[in-house]
Subunit: 327 residues, 2 copies
């Protein structure tokens, strides 16, 4: 996709610079982000680099020099990666991007260090752009961590839709909004454009997360890279489950509560029952309706931001992709 | 002690400001630093606050307004506290300052979040002073985390004295040096004074840590707050053990290696044997000699820094205390 490719080499170069150094901890960070293999050879196993691509896209479209903005973009990508390393410990996830997670390979204590170092390097990198970029990034990081804490709290109780949305606006929304705001900051735009960028990031973030949650239950296991219904198996209180809790009643509601309060393994029959129940309750339709709503709002908001025609086309392409993607 | 009391109320006030907010994670942070009890009541269960006291002492002595410098001091104290929260998870320590550690009370995942949030708030706070203060603090944080990683690596192999000193210069020395440098930065001193402050921080940091390590083996259990020989029981490769590894030979060396490579519980008889061996090898004397050497160097370095006579007296009082303290 053009938007993702536009400044990719600049971002990769910035990641290599930020994570340079011959300590074993820095090597772990380079392997984690996918710029080096376990033998120390340079590779390109990076992900989509969505967040830094958005920073540089917005900065470039609004008149900033992408090269001068790259520290802000790279700082954001490193914060995202620090959160992944610590998330994987918290969720006991054993693989990410098809590779063993840091805690699996190096143990929990060293994985905590790896995340901590990534966090410090992230802010140092953003600070090379400007104190304002570092400040904005730290605010988003604060919000993201509060969201992560809320998500942990959800493991212990039923959750309604509003609570769920508050949580994802923090846990995953904060960094996406930050991508748009950082781009605006790099370009030195006025407060009203900053606010419009923030709104656009909000709508795209919501669509992205709800779509992700639908894939976690109805996604094709082979394409998504984890077994179908895996979010049910791990009792994740994702969007479909929050809707399910609001809509179910009687025996269904009781069984749903019992299922999500339990601690024993969730069997195939229970997974099938939950998928069937959520289907009967119209949860998937509700989710798809909301994704479309947020993407429509994103398209409308996009019109108000002074991007070039080509830039608007590239952003629309990204929005289409987010609505369609299967993993 | 006068140096520690001099700006204490300013630091406590700054900590309250930095950690304000009604989320459950922020409450955990306030309880951890000791400004609030579990019921949400304000208390003063704070520690010595050595590092921020040093920042404000140096800043004040060299002509800065302590009030204007407090964000830098508080940022440093918060970094120290973030590292304690994560250290306690890594070392499986169950109590700190007589209270259950964060992971014991709230679980490992939430304790990881708590440390992460403390880290972000720390840098935000320092950034309120200046980008340079935040940059210096981030550098010290980076070094500290690398030292922590080295310390974990030491759990797996014998360690010599030089390696040990490299590790503590990073793990605990970095933040102490940073305290002196931040004070100088707040006062806007020239590079040569900054370097002298850094040296002073280095000598004091070394003395502090080696003394601590001696207490971990020969300290009076009741005074130190943990059983005598506790560092042996947990196979900590502290200074005395590094000296022991360098000096022991034959059967002693073999048994020492076996003891520190093992994973079963270290019994009382083994603890007694290690204490006896380290005594025979003159390790305690070597440690005390080094502590005295670093404190002498600190006293000499102190003469070259343009503190007031009263300030010099207060710093000498701290140095005497560090040489004498029993916990």
């Amino acid at each position: 996709m053009r938007l993702l490719e536009r400044h990719r080499s600049l971002i990769v170069e910035g990641l290599r610079d930020a994570l340079a150094g011959e300590t074993s901890l820095r090597r772990i960070l380079r392997v984690h982000v996918g710029i080096e293999d376990e033998q120390g050879q340079p590779v390109d196993r990076l992900g989509k680099l969505l967040r830094p691509a958005l920073v540089l896209f917005v900065a470039d479209e609004l008149g900033a020099d992408p090269k001068r903005s790259s520290h802000a973009a790279v700082g954001l990508e490193l914060i995202h990666n620090f959160s992944l390393i610590h998330d994987d410990i918290q969720d006991r996830d054993r693989t990410r991007r098809g590779r063993p997670t840091v805690w699996v390979r190096h143990g929990v204590p060293e994985a905590i260090n790896a995340g901590d170092l990534m966090h410090a390097i992230a802010v140092s990198t953003a600070l090379k752009h400007s104190p304002d970029a570092a400040g904005l990034l730290l605010q988003a990081t604060d919000t993201m961590i509060e969201g992560q804490s809320l998500d942990l709290d959800f493991e212990r109780r039923p959750v309604d839709i509003d609570e769920y949305l508050t949580m994802i606006d923090r846990k995953t929304g904060a960094l996406l909004r930050c991508a748009f705001e950082l781009g605006g900051l790099c370009a030195g735009v006025e407060a009203d454009v900053r606010e419009k960028l923030r709104r656009l990031g909000h709508e795209i973030g919501r669509a992205f997360q709800i779509h992700d949650d639908l894939l976690g239950i109805w996604g094709d296991g082979d394409v998504v890279g984890k077994p179908q219904g895996s979010d049910i198996r791990r009792r994740k209180k994702s969007f479909p489950v929050a809707v399910g809790f609001e809509r179910a009643d009687g025996a269904d509601r009781e069984r749903l509560e019992r299922t999500y309060a339990g601690s024993d393994d969730v069997g195939d029959d229970v997974v099938d029952w939950v998928v069937d129940l959520l289907g009967r309750l119209g949860v998937r339709d509700e989710g798809e309706r909301r994704v479309r709503g947020h993407l429509d709002a994103a398209r409308a908001g996009l019109q108000e931001i002074p991007f070039s025609d080509e830039g608007r086309a590239q952003m629309n392409e990204l929005i289409e992709y987010l609505a369609r993607r299967e993993k």
